[in-house]
């Protein structure tokens, strides 16, 4: 799951080396924290959050096999 977010983010930004993904596992959910260079924020969020929404949709699909709810947060 972490790998998937990393692949997606790195393909979108200008500075892939600054992409950093962290996994925080809670009791009923998994939170995936995505960090990118501040200049690249727009590249992973998009107009009205369109890109962020697409990333979340793909990750949600990948997570259907897991029992836990997966959330992607961009920080």
């Amino acid at each position: 799951m972490k790998e998937l977010v990393e692949i997606l983010a790195k393909a979108l930004v200008d500075q892939p080396e600054k992409v950093n993904v962290n996994l925080v596992e809670k009791e009923k959910s998994i939170i995936i924290e995505l960090k990118v260079a501040s200049e690249d924020m727009g590249k992973v969020i998009g107009k009205q959050g369109r890109i962020a929404r697409a990333i979340r949709t793909v990750v949600k699909a990948a997570a259907t096999r897991h029992k836990k709810k997966v959330m992607v947060e961009i920080i």
Binding site: M1, E3, L4, I7, L8, A11, L12, Q48, R50, I51, R53, A54, I55, T57, V58, K60, A61, A62, T64, R65
Partner: protein, 206 residues
């Protein structure tokens, strides 16, 4: 990425030599002129040939397929890919088991993947190509379903003499419905609202 350097009497000649050696056409490469040719004194003394660096560009369809393969690997999915690259469009058809999760509710996941692949492959490109991703003919089936739905709801609007509001759809799907009902003269269609909640309204003509 493949890079070669060649020399020739003119820049054009040097490029042609490189293209021949690479078996590539002019559109597949980027060219950097390292040195313009100079005739030197009296046409031979100190004359220098043209020197160019020719860089073979990776095809967009290759990058799209690589990106998709990385995504599917990380999702533990076995997917066969059929890629057709045309002048302005790249069609990618996916085949395999368990691909339902790649389609998602009403193609939501498939659209998200298609959107991300388009962004990534067209990033920093001079010429953009539209990439269309399909799973086992899902888009064609969906198109038929939407056309049937459009006719059914158009009839409903006419019979009731009232507007029928459809659920929110992507621009691709809205276009299918507008097109399906274009010929009808008893109703007309328009869209209302902001993306991603934009929806079609079918209204009877008086």
């Amino acid at each position: 990425m493949k890079v070669i350097e060649r020399t020739g009497r003119t820049v054009g000649e040097a490029i042609d030599m490189a293209l021949q050696d690479m078996r590539a056409s002019r559109d597949d490469v980027e060219v950097e002129v390292i040195e313009e040719p100079s005739k030197g004194i009296l046409g031979f003394f100190g004359a220098k040939p043209a020197r160019v660096k020719v860089i073979l560009k990776e095809k967009m369809s290759k990058r799209a397929a690589d990106f998709l393969n990385n995504i599917f690997n990380s999702m533990d999915l076995q997917v066969d890919m059929d890629v057709v690259e045309k002048e302005e469009v790249i069609f990618i058809n996916l085949d395999g088991r368990e691909l339902g999760i790649l389609i998602g509710r009403r193609g939501e996941t498939l659209d998200a993947i298609q959107f991300l692949v388009n962004l990534s492959v067209n990033k920093n490109q001079e010429v953009r190509k539209k990439i269309i991703i399909d799973v086992e003919g899902y888009r064609n089936r969906r198109e038929e379903t939407l056309q049937k739905l459009a006719f059914k709801l158009a009839n409903k609007a006419r019979q009731r003499g009232r507007s029928v509001v459809l659920e929110p759809m992507s621009s691709q799907e809205r276009r299918i419905i507008h097109n399906a009902l274009q010929e009808r003269d008893d109703i007309y269609t328009f869209s209302e609202g902001d993306e991603p909640y934009r929806k079609i309204i079918i209204t009877p003509k008086k």
